[in-house]
Symmetry: C2
Amino acid sequence: MPKKRTNDTVSSVDVARLAGVSQAAVSRTYTPGASISEKMRQKVLAAAEQLGYQPNIIARSLSGKATRLIGIVMVKIGDPFYARILAAFSRKLQEHGYWSLLLNVNDDLGLEEALPQALQYQVDGIVLTSATLSSPIAARCAAMGVPVVMFNRYSLEVAVNSVGCDHAQGARDLADFLLKGGHRRMAYIAGEENSSTNQERERGFTEGLAAAGQRLFARESGDYSYAAGFDATGRLLARPERPDAIFCANDWMAIGAIDQARQSGLKVPEDLSVVGFDDAAMAAWPRYSLTTINQPIDKLVMAAVEVLVNAIESPTEDRVIKLIPGRLVVRNSARLPVGHKKSA
Amino acid sequence: MPKKRTNDTVSSVDVARLAGVSQAAVSRTYTPGASISEKMRQKVLAAAEQLGYQPNIIARSLSGKATRLIGIVMVKIGDPFYARILAAFSRKLQEHGYWSLLLNVNDDLGLEEALPQALQYQVDGIVLTSATLSSPIAARCAAMGVPVVMFNRYSLEVAVNSVGCDHAQGARDLADFLLKGGHRRMAYIAGEENSSTNQERERGFTEGLAAAGQRLFARESGDYSYAAGFDATGRLLARPERPDAIFCANDWMAIGAIDQARQSGLKVPEDLSVVGFDDAAMAAWPRYSLTTINQPIDKLVMAAVEVLVNAIESPTEDRVIKLIPGRLVVRNSARLPVGHKKSA
DNA sequence: CACTTTTTTGCATACGTATTCAAAAAAATG
DNA sequence: CATTTTTTTGAATACGTATGCAAAAAAGTG
C-alpha cells in the first residue's frame, strides 16, 4: 500500500462549496490580476482559511502555468566553495519566487541521466554548475522550451546561456602581480585537468607571462584538494632549482602549498610566493593570508539568476554569455611589487 | 507573456496515437506491475522513443501518485559541515528514487513561511535540518499525511520522527577522556546558545565531569564560528588562572582556539588541551590534529532517509527517535591519558 | 471444438486548477 | 428610466496521467 494521503486534501472545490461560490471564483482569488470583486474574494479567503486550503501548485502547473521549479545540477555539493554557490542560488531564486530542485550528480555521465529526470518535473529552468552540457541534451531542453544557464563554464559550440567569472583575466592579473614582484621562476599547479575552469586559469596565467616574454618554469598536476597542493609543492621543492612563486589553480591547493613550504623550512613569502584563486573563507585567515582572486559569488549568482529568470519570463532565441571580472586580493602570501600599497 | 512552453510538449495521447493504441496502454507501459503484453509495450516504447516522450510526473501525481519529492529544510547551507549533510541527503534520497526540493531558510521564522510552500508542492516527505518544528506546523504536516524527520534535533513535545547523533554521549566521552588525561580546570565554549545541539553537548560534558565529582571551571559563549572560538579563548587565557583544557562546541571554534593559544605563546597540548566536536575535514590536518567526536554523517543520513522513506511507504502512527553514537577520534590536540594508545 | 478461466485492452472518468465563453449583474451614460 | 458599457460570475472544458470496469482476446481445459 504505497502512499495513501491519509486524508482528503482540501481542494478548491471544497472551498467553493463552503463559500457558496463557484470553483472558478476560488481559482481567481489566487490568480493575481484575475477579474474578481473584493466581496467575493473575502468570502473565498474566509472559507479557505477555515479549511486550511492551499492551492496545489502541481495541479496548477498542469493547466499551463509554470511550476516555479528550477533544476540545479551540481557536482561536489559537499565542497565548501560549491556549497556557498548553492546557498546563494537557492536564496536568490527564492527571492524571485522560484524553488530549487537539487540534482546531485557525480560527473557528466550522471548529468545525462539526471537531466531527463529533472525535465519530468517540468522545471521552468535549469542551472548547470560545474558540468558540461552535451549538444543533444541541450537540444532537448530547447525543444521543451526550458532555458538553461551554465555557471562558471561555457561552451561555444552548444547554444546555451552562460555566466561565470573571468578566470583567464584573473589569472592574467596574478601573473602581472607576480612579475611586478620580481618573480622569475613561476610554477603552476593544475586543478582537474579537464575542467574548463582549470584550463582557463592556466591559459590566462601563461598568457600573462608570455606578455612579459616569460614562460612557465614548472608545472604540476593536482585535483583541487589540499592534499594535492601539499604533495605537488613537495615535488616542486625537490627540484634542483626551486620555483620562486607558485600559482595554484585554487585556494585549497594554495593552502596546502603554504603548509608544505613551511614544513620544508621555507618562509612564505620571503623564500617562496604562493597565490591561489577563489578567495575561499580560509584564504583570509591570518595564518595563510593568501593573495588570490576573489570570485564575487553573490554577483555571479545574481547575474546567473537574472539571465535565467529573464529567459523564462520573456522567451527569446538570444543567447547571452556574461563574464564577470574577479578582483585581485593582495594579502601576504606573495612578495609585493616595490611601492605596492595593499588593498583589502 | 509569462511562460509559454514554446512547443507542444508531447503527451501520452500523442504516443498512443502514433502507436495506434489507447492512451491507457501508454500509461500502463510506464506503470510497473500494470497489466500489459510485451508486444504492446514494445510498440509503445518505440513510439515514445521516436517522439522523445517522457511521462509527466507532475500530472501523474495528480491522479493519486506520489511526487517523489522530498522537501529539505536547511539553514546555513553554505557552512561546510551542513553542506556535507546536504550532499549526503540528496545522494541517499536519489538512491531511493526521491528528489530534493531545497528550502533555504534563515531561521525558525523562515521555516514557518517556507513549509507551507513546500506543502504546496505536494512533497512526499520533509527533512528538517537544524531547525525546530513548532507543534502547529507539525500538526499541519500530519493532517496532510506528510511524514517528517528531524535531523540532529529533536523535541519530545512534538510528535515527529527524529534521527541524530548522540551529542550528550559524545560530550561525556570527551569529558572522560580529558579527566583521564589528568586535566583539572576544564572550560566550555558554547555554540549558539539556543541550539539544541549546543545544549546537548554542554549537558553531556558537565554530566561527565559531575560523574567524577568535578565542575566546569569556566564557560564562554560563541556562535560556532572560527572567530568566536579565537576570541573566546582569548578571554579564557586572560584569566588569572588559566584552564588546562577547553571543550569547544564544534571543530571550527576549536581550531580558532588552537590558533589563539599558539599565538599567545602556548603549546598545544603541552600547555593547553583543546577538543572539538564534529570531526570536520580540517580537524585531520596535521597543523591542528584535533581530538574530537566524529559525527558519522553517512550513517546518520542513511538512517534518517530510511526512517523517512519507511514512514512514506508504509504509513503508521508510530514515531521513531534514533540516536546514533559518535566516535571519539584521538589525535594530538589534547594530552593523552597515561598508557593510552591512539586510535584513528 | 465448446467451454471456462485468465490476460489484455479500451472507454470513461477522476485528480485539482485555470481559462474561455456567454450570461448576469453592476455601473455608467444619455 | 432606457440603453450602453463594463465588470463579475458560473458552467464547461482542458491540462496529462492513472485506474475501475466491462468488453475483447488469448490461453487453458475437457
